[in-house]
């Protein structure tokens, strides 16, 4: 058995295989729901309704997609340059931390200045968190998969320490949570009365900016060249190490915006359950999007829809929520397979 590359895949291949992958995911997910004792057709309907069946559900999905767009972009940008950033989770918390530090009354600026300052500080913190592993990589060849992954635990424990200590909300009745942001430090809702906040709009803008950066600027060209063929990039005079460091700054900054937008747009304070693994899910989002920044928006909404839909389904049908996780994992595997099948033909000989 071997794979044969297809020069120009037909439209049938391009659309058929991903659709088949989705169908397979749904079948597998529903049969799991059946095992858990629910009617599979009913569960499917519940998932769809829960994810997009009402204005409320749809906005909830978009809200959930917002941090995933940011972390997905962070991962996509880094992976494109072959910087394996597994630490978007840590960068996200670094961003959230800065939002809380600046936004709980310490800085009394009007919102037009305060929010940009919080976002800027968040990006800076996230960038620095990823810069350290990137320097270790370029200078000493330390594997960034290990360092960025371990940074996640360091950061989470550090936040935990702060929430039990100096950042602990004196009015929090002993819970490990920070004080709440002042009203001027909150991201407003896009439409009054609905839960969707401006973070989602900023995520879309970020995707457009990243897209323009990658396809229209010299830095984007360098990042892609370094990722595709480091040796050729070096030969052409591209400063490979510097490009990796710049990529790290950008990627870390984007991941941190997820933390900023969650705190300032949704939660209003910092807790240890701020992110149910948005940093890791960002990897899935980026891979599903084939690292394309515009694709990240689509796949983030899809992934968020599966989560939100499965959540609501599990409440309605009384099956465990981890079916959502299984469906996501299945979606990722089948999608990756489907995407390679659009480009390659399997020959059995």
């Amino acid at each position: 058995m071997r794979l044969e590359a297809i020069d120009r895949p037909s439209a049938l291949r391009l659309i058929g295989f991903p659709v088949a992958a989705l169908a397979l995911t749904v079948v597998l997910g529903s049969s799991l729901a059946m095992l858990a004792g629910a009617n599979p057709f009913q569960t499917l309907g519940l998932i769809l309704r829960g994810a997009a069946g009402s204005k409320f559900a749809l906005l909830e999905t978009l809200n959930r997609a917002t941090p995933l767009v940011f972390t997905g972009l962070a991962v996509a940008v880094a992976f494109r340059a072959r910087l394996w950033n597994i630490g978007a989770e840590a960068q996200l918390y670094a961003g959230a931390l800065m939002a809380v530090l600046l936004g709980t009354g310490w800085l009394g600026w009007p919102p037009g200045f305060l929010l940009p300052a919080m976002a800027g500080a968040a990006m800076l913190a996230g960038a620095l968190v990823l810069l350290a592993p990137a320097i270790l990589k370029t200078r000493f060849g330390v594997d960034e998969v290990v360092t960025t992954l371990l940074f996640n635990f360091i950061m989470l424990l550090f936040i935990s320490m702060l929430l039990e200590g100096p950042l602990k909300d004196p009015m929090g009745m002993g819970w490990p949570q920070s004080s709440r942001l002042i009203p001027d430090a909150r991201l407003p809702r896009i439409v009054e009365g609905l839960r969707l906040h401006w973070g989602f709009a900023f995520a879309l803008i970020a995707a457009a900016v990243v897209w323009a950066l990658q396809s229209r600027t010299t830095l984007g060209y360098e990042m892609r060249a370094v990722g595709q063929n480091r040796q050729a990039a070096e030969f052409a005079g591209i400063p490979v190490d510097r490009v990796i460091l710049k990529t790290a700054l950008l990627s870390g900054g984007l991941a941190a915006l997820a933390g900023f937008s969650e705190v300032a747009g949704l939660r209003g304070n910092l807790t240890l359950d701020l992110s149910p693994g948005f940093g890791y899910t960002g990897i899935i989002v980026a891979m599903l999007a084939l690292l394309n920044p515009i694709g990240v928006v689509v796949s983030a909404i899809f992934v968020a829809g599966v989560f939100v839909g499965a959540d609501s389904m599990s409440r309605a049908a009384g099956v465990p929520t981890y079916i959502a996780n299984i469906m996501l994992a299945t979606a990722l595997l089948t999608m990756v397979l489907a995407i390679s099948l659009t480009r390659y033909r399997v020959r059995w000989d």
């Binding site: 044969e4 020069d7 229209r216 600027t217 010299t218 830095l219 984007g220 060209y221 360098e222 892609r224 060249a225 595709q228 063929n229 040796q231 050729a232 990039a233 070096e234 030969f235 052409a236 005079g237 000989d349």
Partner: protein, 520 residues
């Protein structure tokens, strides 16, 4: 078609082998036969289908139609073990030895049963000694393969095949890594094998070697069998025409008066880096209107010198002078600013980015500069216009500038690289193996471009392992051996044999005693 032997049948018979890859017919109904004690040469350009044919014989590919018969028995297709078990041994161009094991271990590797309780090393050692004796292939059985020279490794590869009782030996471009003298020694060993009844298929595109070793020549072109002749009935010229399908004339080289030195290296050394051997106090001067050829067995410092001039390696000692000025802090950017055109050895790994389009590849060295970029923003329209002009002027055959370069043939890829570096009319040109793996049409084109650049006054450094190429094109030849550079030899002043002696390191000692390499 092959003459039938009455007494005994052929030891190997390929009958009507056809293999298609998509639309490409790599082998088109090819039949050939090989008899006991015979050497046949398989002659053809790169891409003619020689390797495909041998891969089918070895079961790496399955033929779409046709059959293989070994010693009168049909060979099952698609089973790599079958050919080995039947007594066919292959020596690949790129050796398949374990560097960290001894010669003996390499021979034994894979021949012993996986779950056997003990290894019969004494028996293996005796067998190796006998083979080495019989065929004049002396090698130390306990030497680590990693410490052996290329010629010795090749001997180990041949011994490995013989150790497995090969009766048919296939050699894929065996002389590519050898000096002329080492090639002669190899031929002597091959003759001994043939005298003992072994049969040999000798794959090559070097005509004089084919004439020297083979009794019959089978010529392939574009996957088709062009003919089969006895060497006594033909001459290199006729073979070349058969191989290329056209009469070929060697490139015309006009006499030129050398101009001033544009790039000089003075006592430059570079560190060893893994497989890349560093340079040892190299003096080199590339002059305007001159092609300087660098001959040598691969792995003797060619890559180190190329890296240095390309800017990817810095000297650890000595100085680089460009147009008379010394350059400290040497880098790729410096080399590019100085207008050095660089044609890298490996166009797939170093020269291009496979998944980038032709446009993106065309500006790879100048992506930061106007008109391709302004203040950090790319101007893709300008880039595409440049790519289109390169595609037109250098006859790059491609669907268009937005095609990913991985879809191009090696020749067209090389033309794009050539166009990329030559469009600016460079004064200094580094051409590292510029025609390796190309077909005759592309070779003629690339060599013609280098000669044209020389004629307009550029200084060209031509690095090649093909001595014929070096001798045809170069005004001045240096030989490199173990990181040391010979003095320059003028065109025609040295025979291939003379250069061969420098390649194996003779001559340098005398030179050093005569007061350093500056003497030349």
């Amino acid at each position: 078609m092959p003459p039938r032997e009455q007494a005994q049948g052929p030891v190997l018979r390929l009958d009507g082998i056809t293999k298609r890859f998509g639309r490409l017919v790599a082998n088109d109904a090819i039949s050939l036969s090989l008899h006991g004690g015979e050497v046949i040469a398989l002659l053809g350009e790169n891409g003619a289908g020689k390797t495909t044919l041998m891969n089918i014989l070895f079961g790496h590919y399955t033929a779409d139609s046709g059959s293989v018969e070994l010693f009168g028995q049909a060979l099952p297709q698609g089973n790599p073990r079958a050919a080995l078990a039947a007594g066919v041994g292959m020596v690949h161009q790129h050796f398949t030895l374990a560097d960290n094991l001894s010669v003996l271990d390499n021979l034994v590797l894979g021949t012993q049963p996986l779950w056997g309780a003990r290894l019969d090393m004494a028996g293996a050692r005796a067998k190796l000694a006998r083979l080495a004796q019989d065929f004049g292939l002396a090698v130390d059985p306990d030497a680590r393969v990693g410490t052996l020279s290329v010629g010795e490794r090749q001997r180990v590869e041949i011994l490995k095949a013989l150790y497995r009782d090969a009766r048919i030996l296939i050699l894929d471009e065996p002389t590519a890594v050898l000096t002329p003298q080492q090639a002669d020694a190899l031929f002597a060993a091959l003759r001994k094998m043939v005298a003992q009844g072994l049969s040999i298929i000798f794959i090559s595109h070097k005509l004089h070697e084919v004439m020297a070793i083979a009794s019959r020549v089978v010529v392939l072109r574009h996957g088709k069998l062009m003919g089969e002749v006895a060497v006594t009935d033909t001459d290199p010229r006729a073979l070349a025409e058969m191989m290329v399908g056209d009469s070929i004339s060697p490139p015309e080289v006009r006499a030129m008066t050398p101009g001033p030195a544009l790039l000089e290296l003075r006592a430059v050394s570079t560190p060893d880096r893994g497989n890349v051997r560093g340079l040892h106090r190299v003096d080199l001067s590339l002059r305007a209107g001159t092609i300087t050829g660098l001959a040598g067995v691969s792995g003797n410092g060619q890559a180190g010198l190329a890296d240095l001039i390309a800017g990817t390696e810095r000297p650890s000692g000595g100085e680089i002078r460009l147009h008379g000025t010394v350059h400290a802090h040497w880098s790729v950017t410096k080399a590019l600013r100085a207008g050095i055109a660089r044609i890298p050895e490996d166009r797939h790994k170093t020269g291009t980015i496979a998944d980038f389009t032709l446009t993106e590849n065309a500006i790879l060295e100048r992506y930061r500069d106007a008109p391709f970029a302004r203040r950090g923003w790319m101007d893709w329209r300008a880039a595409r216009a440049f790519a289109e002009s390169v595609i037109r002027s250098y006859d790059v055959r491609c669907p268009g500038p937005e095609t990913r370069i991985r879809l191009l043939s090696g020749g067209n890829m090389q033309k794009l690289i050539l166009g990329r570096v030559m469009e600016t009319g460079p004064q200094i040109i580094l051409a590292n193996q510029p025609v390796r793996g190309l077909d005759i049409g592309a070779i003629t084109f690339v060599q013609g471009q280098l000669l044209a650049a020389r004629d307009r006054g550029a200084a060209v450094l031509l690095i090649s392992e093909d001595l014929d190429e070096i001798q045809t094109l170069s005004d001045v030849i240096h030989v490199i051996s173990e990181g040391r550079l010979s003095p320059p030899f003028a065109r025609g002043s040295m025979s291939a044999g003379d250069l061969g002696r420098w390649m194996v390191g003779e001559g340098y000692a005398r030179e050093n005693m005569a007061g350093g390499q500056d003497a030349a």
